[in-house]
Point group: C2
Chain length 240, copies 2
């Protein structure tokens, strides 16, 4: 199985993802939010690019939770911010979540040309790897990045998923140079916070007092849920 | 001093390099060739994109050496391949080198919007860092990459130059996430061959029996020469 990696939502090359399994990662915090919401019984997640798009969906459906951020802060009139800790069972169970964030939702929408599109994070890294093994296609990991730039947090999270893949495929994977670098960064920083502290994004998150979010998003394998993005909607993977 | 990094010749963003010092790296092997040729008395190096361009310059000037590669192999009718070991003093002294390679010359030409453009490699890493300190501008390191893709060899070489900069500026540098990752990859693999062996390019080079080239290109600081690219021509840095 060949594994490649794209470093930000701004440089997604459609040709690279066509016919492949794609994993989208925005670990701080959009994909951690989505995984948590689905784990806690959220029926489906609709990622949208603009606040207007979210508000107009809220007019259309009754059972909606609006979530997301701009500049890492909750959007006026929305139910939840981009903190995964807010997406508890009593908030999301049976509901439809509409989410818009600066980087993550853009990366998910940009992944549409992939064949199977999964939502990845530290929280479900091992489960994602097992799902990729089941599907058996070549894999491209898309890092949302931060404002179009490479982001350390998504990169090391990719390294974790690659290390899980390596384990469950008994080393039978072929890595591009960038995927190999992610794997090695993770391998030398398995306590990932020790590396994430070098990320620009780390400063933003800690400056906003969101250290609890950070610690939660860095937790490995708290769930087996592997959300899948099909025709504009993210649902719990049918097979899992 | 802010340090950023661009991962391949295909993704050079002119806005990012404007007004900055730029270091172009294609350590396996174009920029190692250029540094070696200049060190051994080559008068100037003209990087060109096509074989035709090189051949037509050979018609124009008498004192020319034609060097370069396609698919890592010497070009028919050229004097030298892309092996730095061929560019000895008795071959290049006082001569004008015209070079065309798959990735490196493209990266150098793509760097034209930078304010000061230096040619970097492991061979002159420390000298490049000192020159950047003298100039005092923000820095963008351009990795040539391999066929438009991120390449492990150029990335770890960038990490070495960043580590030299960190030392000579006493830690007074600000790294983007990608530059920080290069620095950490180098820091955990200071014997750089131990990491370069994961590069796709490593296989190409070793398959062609060019292990001696590889070892030479991985040698740190064999010269103080810092070639500079000005108006289409690379010369020994005026100050050095």
């Amino acid at each position: 199985m060949n594994i490649d990696l794209i470093v930000s939502a701004d440089v997604i090359d459609k040709k690279k993802i066509k016919g492949k399994s794609v994993v989208v990662i925005d670990m701080l915090r959009a994909t951690s939010v989505i995984v948590t919401a689905i784990k806690n019984g959220c029926r489906e997640v609709i990622p949208v690019l603009t606040i207007d798009e979210a508000l107009s969906l809220a007019q259309k459906y009754k059972d909606i939770i609006l979530g997301g951020e701009r500049n890492a802060v909750k959007i006026k009139g929305f139910h939840c911010s981009n903190s995964p800790l807010e997406y508890k069972e009593d908030v999301v169970k049976g509901k439809r979540l509409v989410i818009t964030t600066s980087n993550g939702t853009r990366a998910i929408r940009g992944a549409s040309d992939g064949d199977n599109i999964f939502i990845g994070s530290m929280l479900n890294g091992k489960a994602v790897a097992h799902r990729l093994k089941e599907v058996g296609q070549d894999v491209v990991i898309i890092n949302a990045g931060t404002n179009g730039e490479f982001s350390i947090d998504d990169f090391i999270c990719s390294g974790y998923i690659i290390s899980c893949l390596k384990e469950c495929l008994e080393g039978n994977i072929e890595l591009t140079d960038i995927a190999s670098t992610a794997y090695h960064i993770y391998s030398s920083h398995t306590d990932i916070i020790s590396f994430i502290k070098y990320a620009k994004h780390y400063k933003t998150i800690t400056d906003l007092g969101l250290k609890e979010d950070l610690e939660y998003c860095c937790s490995k394998d708290v769930t087996d849920v592997v959300p899948e993005y099909i025709d504009g909607i993210i649902k719990a993977d049918i097979i899992s």
